[in-house]
Amino acid sequence: MNRETDEIIYSRYIENRDEDDLRTLLERHRDSLTLFIYGIVRNMEDAEDIMIGAFATAASADSPFAGRSSFRTWLFGIARNLARKHLRRSRHIYGADTLDTAGAEEAEDELIKSESRRGLYDAMMDLPEDYRNAIYLAYFEDMSHEEIARIMHKTRKQVYNLIFRGKQSLKGLLEEQESADEKH
């Protein structure tokens, strides 16, 4: 059976406002989007809230999707902007990052089924935000450099450099982790 593309489902939703179409899109993207946002805001409740905000922004559009990028790229771009706005606002109000580790572990268990991916995701949390986002989008979401560049508002060359340097840093972190595990 041919799977309908996101763009077709989204255009149909905008025309007919059928909730089933929105549900299909939500089922396809909510987990990956929530994880991506968590990588930015580091709080699972806020990540879920921002994910809902991103979908609401997409659902509130008046005209069918006719963008230059794919629906998924567009959605991740909206989510990133909302997440960064949220970070700026919460730093201004609270003066610090609101890290939440307790709820995050449970949610990560739910969202990342594979153990090896889970280990990689945990190691990525120690990377700087740009490296983390670029690697997540490239390896967890299988996005092209062009799509990542659109989401992160960078050039393809910059994305390439971010991924390269991110992998170097990640390799160092994983090696440190391994040697620390061996000592114990």
Partner: protein, 105 residues
């Protein structure tokens, strides 16, 4: 994490709120633009009228425009007309505001 049904409900509610906010903002912009346009027409119309050349008179069009708007026995009519226009706009906007409040209640 919330269930998919709860998330879907939240998304629908928020997207409706966003659409309503956008519609209100759009109508406010249109109202302001219409008011500015009417004011501009009211101000420019005498100037446009006075561009019709009055033969054998050595008076520039801006002076003629000034004589219509500022100098001479016409000024009370101009002021009354302007005030009536502003009153009309204010009254219309007040009625719209009252109607919106009734609808929201």
């Amino acid at each position: 994490m919330r269930s998919i049904d709860e998330q879907l409900r939240e998304i629908t509610v928020r997207s409706e709120e966003m659409r309503e906010t956008r519609a209100v903002r759009r109508s406010r912009i249109i109202q302001c633009a219409a008011a500015v346009f009417c004011l501009a027409v009211l101000t420019a119309l005498p100037a446009l009228v006075m561009r019709v050349p009055v033969a054998q008179q050595d008076i520039s069009w801006s002076e003629q425009f000034g004589s219509i708007v500022i100098i001479g026995p016409c000024i009370p009519y101009v002021i009354i007309g302007f005030v009536a226009f502003l009153l009309g706009i204010s009254f219309t906007m007040l009625c719209i505001h009252v109607q919106k409040n009734k609808r929201s209640k």
